[in-house]
C-alpha cells in the first residue's frame, strides 16, 4: 500500500464547516447513515462488538456515577460516544501488539482485554487496579495485554510509542504499536517529531487520531490550520486515511489493514477516526461551549444504539438476544463495581516502593513531618 494520504477520500469531507466552529451539521450524521455492510464479519464477531460497545457504555456511565459518589477522584475522561472507534481499533490488534493511549482510556483498557473490575479498581484507587491504584483514570497499564500506558500529558505517549516500535524493529519482532491520541495532539511538536522519526526509520506504528472535533472546548477548526487531520501524514510521506469512527466495522477494517501493513513492512501510518464525544471533556465539564446543534448531533449519532438497530434489522440479533447481551453486560459492570468496592486501599507503608526500579543508597524515604537527620 504505497498510496499517499491525498489519495484517501475523507468520509464526509466538503460538507464540514470551515473556521468558526459551527459544523454544518450533516457531515457526520450522513456518515452514520452510510454504515459499512456488516456482512464482512461473522455474526459472532458482530455480536461481540456489540457486547463490548455496550460494556464500555455501561462501564463509563458507572464511572461517572462513581465520580459523583466521590469513589472516583481526580480527572475522569469518558469514552461515551466513541465506543465504535474503541472497539473497532482494539479488535484490529493482536494481544501481543502494543497500545499507547492518552488519558481517555477506560474503554481501550477493557477492549484490549483487561478485566473491567481491574479498570474500575484503578478508578477507585485500589491495589487491585491496573496500576495498583498509583495511576488512576489517566494512567492504566497492563503488560499482559500490551497496554503500555495511558498518559495524562497531551501527546506525551506519541514519542514513547515510536520508541516501542523502534525496540520491535531493533529485535526484528512482528508486533505493531498503536498510538491513540485526540485531535488536539496533532498540533504539538512531539507529534510532528515522532511522525518524522517513525517514517524516517520505518517503524511499525499506527498513529490513530480520534477526531471528536473538540480539544477540551476548542474546536478543531479553531486549533488546526488543516482540520482534515489525516492529511498531515502527507508531510511525512506516510499513508493517512480517515474513517467514520461511529462505524465499528469500518474502523475495524481500516485499522486492521494499516496494522497488518505495518506488521509486514514496518511502515508507519496514520488513521483519523471521526467521532463524537457525547459529554464534556471530563465528567466535571458541563460542555457549555457546545452549541445545541452539535450536542444534538452527538446524541443522534449514538454508535451503540445505531449498531444495535443495525444488527437487529440485519437479523444478526433479535430483540431478546440484544436484551440478553445488555443484561449480561450490566451484570459485568455490577461485578466490576463490587470488586472495586471490596478491594483494599494501598497501605501508606508502601509509599516508597515504586520510586526506583533499582534500589539505591540514600534514597530519601521521609514523610512530610520526618526530620532529615
Amino acid at each position: 500500500m504505497a498510496e499517499t494520504a491525498t489519495r484517501s477520500k475523507p468520509a464526509g469531507s466538503g460538507s464540514k464547516g470551515r473556521r468558526g466552529g459551527t459544523r454544518s451539521g450533516g457531515s457526520r450524521s450522513q456518515q452514520s447513515q452510510g454504515k459499512t455492510a456488516p456482512q464482512a464479519e461473522s455474526p459472532e464477531t458482530l455480536r461481540d462488538y456489540f457486547r463490548q460497545m455496550s460494556l464500555i457504555r455501561r462501564f463509563e456511565e458507572r464511572a461517572a456515577q462513581g465520580y459523583t459518589q466521590a469513589k472516583v477522584g481526580g480527572y475522569c475522561h469518558l469514552n461515551l460516544g466513541e465506543e465504535a472507534t474503541v472497539v473497532g481499533l482494539m479488535s484490529a490488534l493482536r494481544r501481543s501488539d502494543y497500545l499507547f493511549t492518552n488519558y481517555r482510556e477506560h474503554g481501550y483498557a477493557i477492549a484490549k482485554g483487561i478485566e473491567p473490575g481491574k479498570v474500575m479498581a484503578e478508578l477507585y484507587g485500589r491495589t487491585t487496579g491496573t496500576s495498583k491504584g498509583l495511576g488512576g483514570s489517566m494512567h492504566m497499564f497492563d503488560t499482559e495485554v500490551g497496554l503500555l500506558g495511558g498518559y495524562g500529558i497531551v501527546g506525551g505517549q506519541v514519542p514513547l510509542a515510536t520508541g516501542a516500535a523502534l525496540a520491535i524493529d531493533y529485535r526484528g519482532g512482528d508486533e505493531v504499536v498503536m498510538c491513540q491520541m485526540g485531535d488536539g495532539t496533532t498540533n504539538i511538536g512531539a507529534f510532528h517529531e515522532s511522525m518524522n522519526i517513525a517514517a524516517l526509520w520505518n517503524l511499525p506504528v499506527v498513529f490513530v487520531v480520534i477526531n471528536n472535533y473538540l480539544g477540551m472546548g476548542t474546536t478543531v477548526e479553531m486549533s488546526s490550520a488543516e482540520s482534515e487531520l489525516y492529511k498531515r501524514a502527507v508531510a511525512y510521506r506516510m499513508h493517512g486515511e480517515r474513517v467514520d469512527g461511529n462505524d465499528v466495522v469500518a474502523v475495524r477494517e481500516a485499522a486492521g489493514r494499516l496494522v497488518e501493513h505495518a506488521r509486514k513492512t514496518g511502515e508507519p501510518a496514520m488513521l483519523e477516526a471521526v467521532s463524537h464525544r457525547m459529554k464534556g471533556h471530563s465528567v466535571v465539564d458541563p460542555a457549555k461551549y457546545r452549541n445545541s446543534e452539535d450536542a444534538e448531533a452527538a446524541r443522534e449519532a449514538d454508535p451503540v444504539a445505531a449498531f444495535r438497530e443495525q444488527l437487529v434489522s440485519a437479523n444478526v440479533l433479535d430483540e431478546d438476544g440484544a436484551a440478553e447481551i445488555e443484561r449480561a453486560v450490566q451484570a459485568d459492570v455490577d461485578a466490576a463495581v463490587a470488586f472495586a468496592d471490596d478491594s483494599p486501599h494501598p497501605d501508606p507503608a508502601t509509599l516508597f516502593d515504586y520510586t526506583y526500579a533499582t534500589p539505591v543508597a540514600n534514597d530519601s524515604r521521609r514523610l512530610p513531618a520526618d526530620p532529615v537527620f
Binding site: Y98, F100, G129, S131, K132, G133, L134, G135, H139, F141, D142, T143, L148, G149, Y151, I153, G156, V158, P159, L160, A161, T162, G163, A164, A165, L166, A167, I168, Y170, G189, A190, E193, S194, N196, I197, L200, W201, D353, Y354, T355, Y356, A357, T358, V360, A361, N362, D363, S364, P371, V372, F373
Partner: protein, 330 residues
C-alpha cells in the same frame, strides 16, 4: 593501570558495554557520521553500525521520548544530548515520562536509560549554551543524577548507570573532557547514591561536584602546602544525595564551604547547606559558605564570563574567610 582522558574513559566504557550487551545502543544528534560533537562516540558507528549508533534529527523531544519507549521494552538506550541546554526541549519526556513510568504504573514498567549530557560554562558559548541546570533533574524523584569528576569516576559511574534499571541523567562537563587520570582496567561499577571523600582532612570540609570537585581538590592541595588540612567531598550523585557522608565530615571539621558551578539561589549548594544544618548544626563553628556562579545569563565576553564562574581562586578565598571566622591558626 592506564592514564587516560575523561573523554577516553567515556568512549572506552561505552564501547565495552556495547560489546557485552546487545541491548545497549546509542542515540542522539551527530553521534554517528560526525562522531559526536565532543568525539565521545568516535569510531563507534563504524564498529557497530547504524542500528546501534543512531543519528537523529534535531528533535530532542522526539528522540528522547523514543529512547524512553525503547527502554520500556527492555532496550538500554544511551542518549547523547549535545548539551544540557538542549535537554530543555525534551523536558516533558524526561520529567513527565521517564521519571514516572515506574511509579505511576505501580512498578510494571521502567525506563532503563542513560541520558549523557555535558553542562558548564567557560568556553565563551554565551547564555544559552553555558548552563548548569542539572538541578532541574536532581529535583525529580524517579530520576537519578550522577556527575563524575574524574576519568575513573566517569568509567565507574557510566558502568553503574548502564546497569541501573532507572533513567539516569549522566552529567558531563565541557571543561573535564581533556582532563587525565588513572583508570584501573578492572574497575567495578560505582554505587549510585554514594559520595566520595577525595581528600581527608580535619580543618574544613569542601563539598563540590563535577568540575568544582576537581577545583576543590586542587584548592585542598594548595592549602595542604600551608599546613591547612581540608577534607574534600565529591558528591558524585546529586540524586540520591549522600547526606550522611557530608554531615559526618562537617561534624569532624566544624565548618564547610560548598563549591558549585550552578547558580546560588535555590541551587544544589542550598540543599547541601540545609542538610548540614539538619545534621551538623551543633558542630558548626561558622556559617556554611557557598561559592557559586554569578546569577546572570552567562556573558560571552571573556573577562565577564571569567568573573561570573567560580574558580580555584574564589574557592580558596572563601575557604580562608571561613577559616578566619573560626579562628583557625596557621
Amino acid at each position: 593501570m592506564a592514564v587516560i582522558t575523561y573523554r577516553q574513559a567515556l568512549h572506552d566504557t561505552l564501547r565495552e558495554e556495547m560489546l557485552s550487551d546487545e541491548n545497549v545502543f546509542l542515540i542522539g544528534e551527530e553521534i554517528g557520521v560526525f562522531e559526536g560533537s565532543y568525539k565521545i562516540t568516535a569510531g563507534l558507528l563504524e564498529e557497530f553500525g547504524e542500528k546501534r549508533v543512531r543519528d537523529t534529527p534535531i528533535a530532542e523531544e522526539g528522540f528522547v521520548g523514543a529512547a524512553v519507549g525503547a527502554a520500556m521494552l527492555g532496550l538500554r538506550p544511551v542518549v547523547e544530548l549535545m548539551t544540557i541546554n538542549f535537554s530543555l526541549l525534551a523536558l516533558d519526556q524526561i520529567v513527565n515520562h521517564a521519571a514516572k513510568i515506574y511509579g505511576m504504573f505501580g512498578g510494571q514498567s521502567n525506563a532503563p536509560m542513560v541520558l549523557r549530557t555535558p553542562g558548564g560554562g567557560g568556553q565563551q558559548l554565551g547564555a544559552t549554551h553555558s548552563q548548569n541546570i542539572e538541578l532541574y533533574y536532581a529535583f525529580v524523584p524517579g530520576l537519578k543524577v550522577v556527575a563524575p569528576s574524574t576519568p575513573a569516576d566517569a568509567r565507574a559511574l557510566l558502568k553503574a548507570s548502564l546497569a541501573d534499571n532507572d533513567p539516569v541523567l549522566f552529567l558531563e562537563n565541557l571543561a573535564l573532557y581533556n582532563t587525565k587520570g588513572e583508570v584501573p582496567d578492572d574497575m567495578p561499577p560505582a554505587e549510585i547514591g554514594r559520595a566520595g571523600v577525595t581528600r581527608t582532612g580535619s580543618d574544613i570540609t569542601i563539598i563540590g561536584y563535577s568540575r568544582m570537585a576537581t577545583v576543590a581538590t586542587q584548592v585542598a592541595d594548595q592549602l595542604g602546602e600551608e599546613g591547612i588540612s581540608a577534607e574534600v567531598i565529591d558528591l558524585r550523585s546529586l540524586r540520591p544525595l549522600d547526606r550522611e557522608t557530608l554531615v559526618e565530615s562537617v561534624r569532624k571539621t566544624g565548618c564547610a564551604v560548598i563549591a558549585e558551578d550552578d547558580w546560588l539561589t535555590y541551587g544544589i549548594g542550598a540543599e547541601i547547606a540545609a542538610s548540614i544544618s539538619d545534621g551538623a548544626f551543633d558542630y558548626l563553628d561558622a556559617p556554611v559558605r557557598r561559592v557559586a556562579a554569578a546569577e546572570v545569563p552567562l556573558p560571552y565576553a571573556k573577562p565577564l564570563e571569567r568573573a561570573a564562574l567560580p574558580s580555584a581562586e574564589s574557592l580558596n578565598a572563601a575557604v580562608r574567610q571561613t577559616l578566619d571566622a573560626v579562628g583557625h591558626r596557621r
